[in-house]
Each structure stands twice: as C-alpha cells, then as structure tokens.
C-alpha cells in the first residue's frame, strides 16, 4: 500500500495525544496478520495494511472504555461498528481518533482452505487486486479475487472508512458485486425442513468456545454474558444442538438492529459455522421494516432502542 | 483415594445450627454406617458438599476427628450452591466427598504454644484444630484464641466460645469492628481490627500462629505476626480458591504448580512466599 508511509506519519503525529493506536501487524506467516497495539514510536513501523487485515480493531474498544484516548486504523466495515457503538452511547466521540483508507477487500481463510487445503501448506500468495496467485507444493494457481475474498466484500457499499479523522490514499471505487448475499439467497430457497436440518447439522458442530461472541465488536456484555450465567441458568453446559442453537439465537437476537455485518463472528469461528447467515437475515429484516442500516450514521437512533407510536416505515394494519 | 474420586457418598443432615444471619452449620452423617465407621480425616482437611441439581462446593470439615458423632460444615451464603444448602433441613440428603486436601501439621506442632487468629467464616478451619488440640490438651503448650467479626451478631460458634471461656487452659479474646452497647463489658471483649488487637495481646512469638479469614484480614495479620517476631515457617493459614473437582484435576485452583485442593488448603507462610504472586 503506497499510502502506508503517509498513514504511519499521521499516526506518528497523533500518537503523543493517544494512549494507544490499534491496527495490524504481520502474523506468524504470510497469510496472517494480528492486531497491533501502538504505544510507542517504534511500534509504528510494525504496521501493515493488506488483504489479510481481517481483525476488526473495534472489537478491542470495550476493554479500553473509561476515558482512554484510542486511535484506530479501520476498514470501512470496521468503522461501522464504531459508529454503532457511538449511537448506543457506549463510546465517546472525543476519545477516538480514526485513521481511514480505501479498502479493496480482504481474503477469506475458509475459502482459501476449501480450495487449497491447510493454509499452513501454502508457500506463497500474491494478490494483484483482480487475481490471486497461490503456490502450494508443485501447484501454482491463479484465481479471481472475488472467489477468495470475504463474503462481506462482495456486497460492500462502504469500502471507505466512515467518519474518520484522517484518511490516506485514494478512495476505493470498489462497487458491490451483487446487492444481496448469494449464500443467504441460496439458503432461503430451501424448504423450512431443509433449513432446519441445515442448522441442526451446523449447530452440532459448535464447540461453544464463544469466539464468535468475543470477536464481536457489539458484544459489550463482556464477562457478564447471559450464556455464562448459572443463576438464572439459561443454558446448560451440555454442548448439543439444542443448547448451541439456543446460544446462537440469543446472540443473533441481541445483535438485531445493531449488527454491522463486519463478519468477525463467522471469521473467528474455528469450526467455520456460517453464522453470518443469521446476522444477514436479521439485518435484512431491519432494513425492510425500519429502512435502517446499523452503524452508518452517528446521528441515527437504532430502531430497537427507541419507541415511536407511528413507525414511518411500517404500514399499520387498521 | 477412592475408586471414583468424584463420586460422593450419600449423607443425611442431622442438625442445623443458625450461627449468624448468613452462616449456618450443618451436622451430617453418612447413610452407610460402614462409611461412617471407617471415615478418618485430619484437622484442616476439606470436603465437597453436593446438592444434586445445583452442584458442589468446598467446605472445611470443622468438627474434630476426636469427635466422630457427625461431620460438621459451616456454610456462608454467598452464591448459587451455598444459598441452596441454606434451605436444607434436618433429614435432607446431601452428597459428601471427603476428606480432601492436606491438614495442619499437628505432629510437628506438639509441645508448642499455639495462637489462633480467626476472622468471620475463617473461624471454621480453626475450630477443627482448636477442638482437636483441646481434646489432646497435654500435647500442646499455651493456647490462645483471637476471634473477630464485624459485629457481635456475626460471631459464630457461640456455644463453643462460651465453653472455651469457662476453661482455664485456653485464653479467649473476641473483637468486633462495630460493637453494640452490650459489648465490652467482659474482659475478653475487645473492639477494633484483628491485627491491632493481636499486637495488643502480644502472644509469645516462639510458638505457632494459625490464621484464617477474609484475604485482607489475612494480609494484615501476617504483617502483624511478622512484626511480633513469629517465624514464617510457624505461621499457618488456609487458602480458598474456586474449586470443582477437589482432587487436582480440573485446573482452576492452582497457584504456580501447586493446587490448593491437594497441596493445600493449609500452607505455611514460608511456603506462600515461594509461590508466584497470584492470590
């Protein structure tokens, strides 16, 4: 990224007034980055911005509440979670400094794995924006970016960081490949019985590690989630379809109207359970009923956090 | 160790004593008389009480092995399991897994003076050792008890205390943070924080000191004992941690490579200093 040097310079200048700036750094191999917490000048050089910067830095904000001055390097989708948190009064705008850029999409590990086997076997990977070239053993393959990128990138209409204090480089002109998520569309073609069977099979696989919950920028209950409460006891420790499904439904209901579809829950899931289907479904319902897109305008009040006698978008049956 | 260390023995509650507003003492006997007859333990060891459908929790066996009519547990109401235990009545069933953990070094302490310093529910583990020593009175030197609680109503084991005060082979001092109008009329009734009263009593520092209570009280009591010149390897305390299995498997009660459930709950102060700082 050409603008990386400029971004680093912006951070360098802002750092004296900030407790920390959260971004990304190189991970244990070429396909992984990990979050970077910049606290000193030396840390700035570790910053990387590329198609493997999958983590949403806003997920760490709940740990930094309470007057800490926080800088964040955010993709467009990530920035929506910050706006939603601001809308819910869970953050103060004056505590945040957001560094934005134009994002051209991120690569999805699950799709790479489905295509090439274990990621750890991949020797090299190159992305020119349109195509990705992958080398595994003696095999070299070039695949269109759209076949390997995260699902959210295919429908993304916010490739540029929203509401940022700083912006580097050129704005992304990336247009969504489609309006609707293909996986959800396919899923909705199934019969009710087939859909139920699908979820039973997926929920059987859940190990209740709560990575989906903990990776979610909107899950602010932190250590006091009702899933862990023994009194009252909502969930059994039994890891079975019924209890796993119960947890996932509680999770999605708590996110309805709040979820910004950053996809961190699904990405974090070690079992690759497609829980974004549930999120997308509910976000679609909220769009249909309230004409509302979570985390796109800090001035909005989320529809499930207010009461209006007459909802302008709902036609009352008299 | 039993064939199945996580399987409780069934027992029945014989008696319930309401000690304070949030502490009750339960006296239980195993349903199987053979289990009762063969049961042995040492002062300081703990047991897990089960209320089936709610779960298990760890408590010290605070009766003395010298009196085996029943096993006694004192339970402070703090959470899910303890609240349910408080609802139990005489004749109700409980599961008991005991004895677990280590014990006070009663052999090593023979012939020595012993000062007991207990705070609140922390009196429970001291009671077992104190009764044991009184039942083997000739084996031990001067015995002093300093027992404190928030208010006079928060002092447990009133019956025992009355008996100990009558005896001339044990010195008893009671202290409360918040005295009422009645308090202080007797010479053994003091007011003030335990560590301060301890310094006032100024027990002979050549013997053993045994202390248990809330973490903050233990911390300042240890400092006071140090000041009084007690040796680190003659100061004993019992630790509490969240436990599940009680037999060193489930992992949560470790401090460094020591497990409170098997290497404790009794620790010497000198041993505590060797452990990583993670209380």
């Amino acid at each position: 990224m050409q603008a990386l040097a400029e971004l680093k310079e912006q951070i360098r200048q802002a750092l004296p007034d900030l407790d920390v700036v959260i971004g990304w750094q190189q991970g244990f191999d070429a396909l992984h980055t990990r979050p970077l917490f910049i606290r000193s000048e030396e840390d700035i050089d570790k910053l990387v911005v590329n198609e493997f910067c999958v983590v949403n830095p806003a997920s760490y904000l709940r740990e930094l509440r309470g007057g800490k001055k926080v800088g964040l390097v955010l993709k467009g989708c990530d920035s929506r979670s910050v706006i939603e948190l601001l809308q819910e009064d869970l953050l103060k705008e004056e505590d945040l400094t957001i560094f934005g850029f134009g994002c051209n999409g991120i690569l999805n590990h699950t799709k790479l794995q489905a295509r090439f086997g274990e990621l750890g076997f991949i020797q090299s990977i190159e992305n020119d924006g349109a195509n990705v070239t992958v080398v595994v053993g003696d095999n070299k393959e070039t695949v269109p970016f759209t076949e390997l990128c995260a699902d959210k990138c295919l429908t993304c209409v916010y490739p540029n960081t929203l509401q940022c204090s700083h912006f580097v480089g050129e704005e992304s002109t990336k247009k969504p490949e489609s309006e609707k998520n293909k996986a959800l569309e396919e899923f909705e073609k199934l019969s009710l019985e087939e859909r139920f069977a699908f979820w039973q099979d997926q929920m059987r696989r859940c190990i209740r590690c709560y990575a989906c919950r903990n990776a979610c920028p909107m899950c602010v209950c932190k250590d006091h989630c009702i899933a862990n409460s023994r009194e009252p006891k909502w969930l059994s420790e039994e890891v079975d379809v019924q209890n796993n499904f119960m947890f996932q439904l509680i999770h999605v209901m708590h996110l309805t109207g709040r979820c910004v579809e950053c996809g961190e829950c699904e990405r974090a899931c070690p079992m690759d359970i497609p829980i974004m289907l549930l999120r997308r479904k509910m976000a679609g319902v909220i769009r249909d009923v309230f004409a509302y897109n979570a985390g796109t305008n800090a001035e909005d009040t989320p529809p499930l956090m207010c009461f209006k006698v007459e909802e302008p978008t709902i036609e009352e049956r008299h | 160790m039993k064939a199945n260390p996580v399987l409780p023995d069934m027992a029945t509650i014989m008696e319930v004593v309401e000690e304070t507003s949030n502490i009750k003492t339960f006296r239980v006997r195993f349903n199987d008389e053979n289990v009762m007859k063969n049961f042995t333990f040492e002062p300081g060891q703990v047991g897990q009480l089960s209320v089936f459908g709610i779960g298990e929790s760890t408590f010290v066996i605070n009766s003395s092995p010298t009196r085996m009519d029943y096993l006694q547990f004192s339970v402070m109401r703090v959470g899910e399991v303890t609240s349910r235990i408080h609802q139990l009545k005489v004749g109700d069933s409980v599961g008991v897994r005991a004895p677990l953990g280590n014990a006070f070094p009663t052999e090593e302490m023979k012939g020595q003076d012993v000062t007991f310093i207990g705070g609140g529910i922390g009196m429970a583990p001291l009671r077992t050792l104190l009764v044991y020593m009184l039942d083997n009175r000739d084996d031990y030197g001067k015995i002093t008890l300093l027992y404190g609680a928030r208010s006079p109503q928060d002092l447990s084991y009133q019956e025992d205390i009355a008996e100990w005060i009558e005896r001339d082979d044990i010195d008893v001092v009671l202290t409360v943070d918040n005295p009422d109008e009645e308090w202080g009329k007797k010479p053994y009734e003091k007011a003030g924080l335990i560590p301060n009263v301890l310094k006032e009593i100024n027990p002979d520092n050549k013997g053993y000191a045994v202390t248990c209570g809330p973490p903050i009280m233990i911390k300042f009591t240890l400092m006071a004992l140090n000041e009084l010149g007690f040796k680190d390897d003659k100061i004993l305390t019992t630790l509490e941690k969240r436990m599940k299995c009680g037999v060193g498997l489930c992992g949560r009660c470790n401090i460094g490579d020591k497990y409170v459930c098997v290497d404790g709950p009794v620790f010497k102060y000198s041993e505590l200093q060797e452990l990583p700082n993670e209380l």
Binding site: Y60, I207, A215 | G53, K241
Partner: protein
Amino acid sequence: MACKFISNEDITLWLEALAKDHVVFVPVDDCGSVTFRPLAEGRKPVLDRVPVRSPKEAVFPQNETLLLYKYEKDLEDPEHSTVRIKETLPKERAVVFGTRPCGARGMTVFDRVFDNERIRDPYYATRRENTLFITLACNKVESTCFCHEVGSGPADTAGSDVLLTPVQGGYTAEAVTERGGQMLEASVFADGGNKCAEAEEVKKATREMLGEAHDYSDAPEKLLAVFDDDEFWEEQAAGCISCGACTYLCPTCYCFNITDEATGTTGKRLRTWDTCMSFQYTLEGSGHNPRSTKAKRLKNRVNHKFSYYPDTYEKNIACCGCGRCIKSCPASVDIRAIVKAAQARGAKKESK
C-alpha cells in the same frame, strides 16, 4: 519394530473390520471442517488435512456424565425427599484412526495427570484403556507446526498403538504397543518389504522440513522470572479475545467444569471442557478473581504448559506442538512466540 504394509484400498476394509466391535473415529469432512466422527456409511476418511478438533475427545469428551441422580419423595413425609445416585462409567471400545503424532502425544500429557500413583480418574482411565490410537506420520509440515520443539516429531509414537507412514500405494504400519501388534495381525497387512525403507525416508524428510528446533528447556525458570512483569504479559495478551478456541482444540488441555444439569426431579452431573481463558473460570463466590484480566489468564495458560507442568512431571512440556491454538486463534496469538519472548526477557532480567 516389525514393519508391515497396507494398501490404500485395504484401509477401508480394515476400518470396517474394526468397526464391528469398536467405535472407529476417523477424520472426515464435516461441513467443510475436518473433524473426528464415528465411521459410518458415506463418511470417507480425509487424511491429507489436519483435523481441526483434536483426538482427545475420544477419551475425554466435551461432555461426560459422571453420575445420574433422582429425588424420591418420602410418601410418609412429603416435606422430605431422598436422593439416589448412579455412577455412569463409560463402556465403549473405540479406535481413533488417522490422528497425527502430535494429537496422540497429547494423550500422554493427560495420562500423567489422570492416571498416576496418587489418583486414577475412572472415566478417563476406562476410556483410555478401551481406546486404540492408529496414528498417521506426517509427510508435510504447516507454518504452525512445532512438534520438534517440544520433544516430539512428525513420526513420534508416544501415545499411539500403531504408527502408519504414507508410502507409494499405501501405508507402512508399525506396532507401538502390544495391542497395536495384535491389530497388525489382520489379513489386510502384508510384509513391509522395501516399503519400510521408503517409510524411513519419508520420516527423515519430514523431520528435515521442520528445520532446527528451538530449545524450550529453560522456559520454566525464565517464565517465572517474568511472572510479575505485568507490562510484558499485557503486551503478549493484547490481541487475545478471551475465547476458548485455543483450549478446546488443544490436544493437551484438560481443564474441566462440573455442573449439575437438572430436568425436574432427575438429572445428571456433567463434566465439561472448561477454559482457563474465561473470566468465570476462577471467579470466586465472594466476587474475588485471582485471574481477573486476560493477561493473567494467558500467563497461566502459557505457564501451565511450559513451566508448571514440566516442573511437576519430569520436564515434560504440556504442549504437543500441533499448532491448533495458533492456527485457530481469531487474533493469531502465537504461543511459540510468547514463550520465546519470555525466555529472552527472563534472561535479560537475570543478567541485570
């Protein structure tokens, strides 16, 4: 060690024969992830990928019923009820097929804890005795592999009953235990012949791919040297999201919770995998929590594997180097890097 040969085609025959009197766990494609599931119609073993879940679940399932209980009302005195309990020891005989050497080695970490001179956990021990491990040596390595650094290797036999090594047309099979030897008496096995030399080459080549091994032997004291270095641990844990993915997928993590799960007047006492990364794990009734921050919790996990366990069990590291915790971590927290950083920081502290 006698070396035999089994062809790719005969593997299926062998597994089907074993399935007659065992539950045979095989790695299969389970909605895109590779997990161990009982052999059944339509489930084909996937042997060229590494199962995301570890084989420990065959011996230490995520949920294990410890006992059943039942309240019975006293008809004479309806105020009172008595409780009956019933021990529920496992009875199944099982085979785990196609685990990697790291996963099988994980069981040896369990063995020292669950079945020793002091204690024998009958649930674990019964399953362990009734479960055979047929392990597959590796011929490729991943970026997250570090078995060679924790005393293991891509052809390690620790914890296994049989070791298979991929060669042209099939696998060589070596018996590790007596029980493994009996399994190799099946008619599907031929004499190894020159395949055995080929297998040795595979083992050697895979070991070479891993390169030189970092030395973790002084980690116990170095980790303790940085125990109180909060800044260090906060930095290492900054990315951690306190989920349980690392511990649940780990072949050596054995911490558990015990809960009662009631339905009316009956119910069961359940043992469930627990995770030291969760806030609730050490939360006491009083509200006090000795490991209240994620930095303290991560410190405990790293210390348990690389310091406390080796100190208790003759220097054995409680990590099998499979890399699952690294690979499945949503934030790419890397335990190798943390221990190395602690060794370096500890050495610096000592030299001061």
